[in-house]
């Protein structure tokens, strides 16, 4: 389904001129046309125009206002200036001081970007909607799994053990399962919800995740049959073969394939793999560029390790790429990852368009050994 819709939106964008974006430079307003398909065009300049986002003034402190203006202009850029760094980057120390469910500046910027704000979403007009949903009836299978996973989500961060925080996570996940019964609860969503709840209120988090399902197409990755995951594995393997051919050959010789390491990249948008400060910056760009940027970042990360990986056997490769066991160890410089990603995005994007077509052909003709047939 997502495959068709992705292609459909691409075909539409080729055959018909894209619907004229709403007037004005409001990036949030352009969101729909930019991020629904994986194959959305990357921004045209090598350093994207900083988006201008209108944010209603609230009772901000002077410091907030500075941070807001920096984030508005810099957070979505892959090349932040030195002066902006302290405002844009997140420190672990900052994380220790977090209070859950408070709307932060970055939370506001992201909500607008995702069109999940109260005045941006039709569904949010019903202010009681979320309150009802978190008490609505939900399959006990989901509720049981949600409860099991609360303690098992980001256990290394103190805030994730707090009772109020866990209650908020559980309520949001409950509401999602009630609102989207066809998706229900998927392991990994807890990371998304918990992470977002450190940046925004519980209700904001709920609507943000709903928009992630609809605008980024995440529901296809979290659905009971994980519909879109096989396609992702296919795309990652093809991208490695094309852009890092030596590594592609080495992976084949050592028996490595994306299903062994890439599931959490896609399903948690890297939250399962890296620290919150690191992933926050990745998300700045994924939310700006669209879901295709997950693949660009993945290739950027692989490129950084390429020389090392060429000398490794499967076991060491797995421990390098494996989630969570390495989180908290010395990570790459995330800004370098983003700069490299920015340099690669045009060629990666072009490849993705091609490989999506190949995947579609495979699915339609049932030729070759498609993932579906293998599974």
């Amino acid at each position: 389904m997502d495959i068709l819709s992705g292609v459909f939106s691409r075909v539409r964008s080729i055959s018909n001129p894209a619907p004229a974006p709403p007037r004005g430079p409001n990036v949030a307003a352009n969101f729909d046309s930019r991020t629904t398909s994986l194959a959305r065009k990357p921004s045209d300049t090598s350093i994207p125009e900083p988006p201008k986002i209108q944010i209603q003034p609230t009772a901000d402190t002077q410091q907030d206002i500075v941070k807001l203006s920096v984030l508005k202009s810099m957070a979505f850029s892959p090349c932040i200036t030195l002066q902006a760094k302290e405002h844009v980057q997140v420190s672990l120390q900052h994380l220790d001081n977090l209070k859950c469910g408070t709307l932060t500046i970055r939370g506001r910027v992201w909500l607008l970007r995702m069109r999940a704000g109260r005045d941006q979403m039709q569904q949010r007009r019903d202010t009681q909607c979320y309150q009802r949903l978190k008490k609505a009836q939900v399959s006990p299978i989901h509720l049981d799994q949600i409860q099991k996973d609360l303690d098992r989500t980001y256990p290394q961060y103190a805030i994730f053990h707090e009772a109020t925080f866990q209650k908020a996570m559980s309520d949001v996940l409950h509401a999602i399962a009630a609102y989207r019964p066809e998706v229900g609860y998927c392991q990994g969503m807890g990371y998304i919800v918990g992470f977002l709840n450190t940046l925004m209120t519980e209700e904001d988090t709920f609507w943000f995740v709903i928009q992630m399902m609809d605008k980024l197409g995440m529901s296809n990755y979290w659905s009971p049959s994980l519909t879109a995951l096989p396609k992702s594995f296919f795309l990652i393997e093809k991208l490695i073969d094309t852009h890092l051919p030596r590594l592609g050959r080495h992976f084949k010789e050592t028996g490595m394939c994306p299903s062994m390491y890439a599931t959490p990249w896609i399903m948690t948008l890297f939250l399962y793999n890296y620290s919150i400060p690191f992933v926050t910056r990745l998300w700045d760009l994924i939310l700006y560029e669209g879901l295709y940027y997950v693949y660009v970042i993945a290739l950027s990360i692989l490129t950084a390790h390429e020389e090392d990986m060429l000398t490794m056997q499967m076991e060491d490769l797995m421990s390098l790429l494996q989630p969570s066991s390495r989180r908290g160890e010395k990570e790459q410089d995330v800004e370098e990852v983003l700069r490299r990603a920015n340099r690669m995005k045009f060629s990666v994007h072009a490849s993705l368009v091609k490989f999506e077509d190949q995947w579609l052909q495979q699915q339609l003709t049932k030729e070759g050994m498609s993932m579906h047939a293998t599974i």
Binding site: P155, F234, G255, M256, S324
Partner: protein, 206 residues
């Protein structure tokens, strides 16, 4: 020193079972000798390896694939159990559903897996006797009916965890030797380092 020179026989082992039964905890206890009550949920699968030495000095290296337990990850499981020489199917002795789920895994392995795979049927969390719902006899009789070996473990106290892997290890080479004898020299036998999903028939990446 001589021990380090010997090449270990490498086997692929997969852990299967319902979510939260302690698959990761068993693997971590075996590999690191630790127990952490707040281990993260496994998304997709994780990989570890550990080597054991049999009484006859044979080195057995386990490549352990620990899978996600939630039902919707089930469709990924064949990528991990395909080509595996050993499987540990785990249930939680305090949870009836997990026992039923474990039986389903056994059925699937019997239908889809390698017929020579060594399967262990494992009841975990024996450190919680007051909450026990599945008696050892029940697990035992199911295992013997299906030709599996049965053991109850506690990943928390480490009870029977290394025994579990030793028992598997002891069964492995004998099966392999039998295979070598019956199939003659054309059979390549144990291939150290082989066993990753993509090497098997119908590799995961097509």
């Amino acid at each position: 020193m001589a021990g380090q020179m010997r090449k270990a026989l490498t086997y692929k082992l997969v852990l299967l079972g319902d979510a939260g039964v302690g698959k990761t905890a068993i693997a971590v206890q075996f590999v690191k000798g630790q127990f952490n009550p707040f281990l993260e949920s496994t998304i997709g699968a994780s990989f570890m390896n550990q080597t054991v030495t049999l009484p006859d000095e044979t080195l057995i290296k386990f490549q352990i694939w620990d899978t996600a337990g939630q039902e919707r990850f089930h469709s990924l499981a064949p990528m991990y159990y395909r080509g595996a020489q050993a499987a540990i199917v785990v249930y939680d002795i305090t949870n009836r559903n997990s026992f039923e789920k474990a039986k389903e895994w056994i059925k699937e392995l019997q239908q889809q897996g390698d017929p020579n795979v060594v399967v262990a049927f494992v009841g975990n969390k024996v450190d919680m006797p007051e909450a026990r719902k599945i008696q050892p006899s029940e697990g035992e009789s199911y295992a013997s009916e299906n030709g599996l070996f049965f053991i109850e473990t506690s990943a928390k106290t480490a009870e029977n965890v290394s025994e579990l892997f030793m028992k598997i290890a002891k069964q492995l080479p004998s099966i392999q030797r039998q295979k070598d004898i019956t199939s003659g020299p054309s059979n390549p036998g144990v291939k150290p380092g082989v066993g990753a999903p993509s090497k098997g028939k119908g590799g995961c990446c097509g």
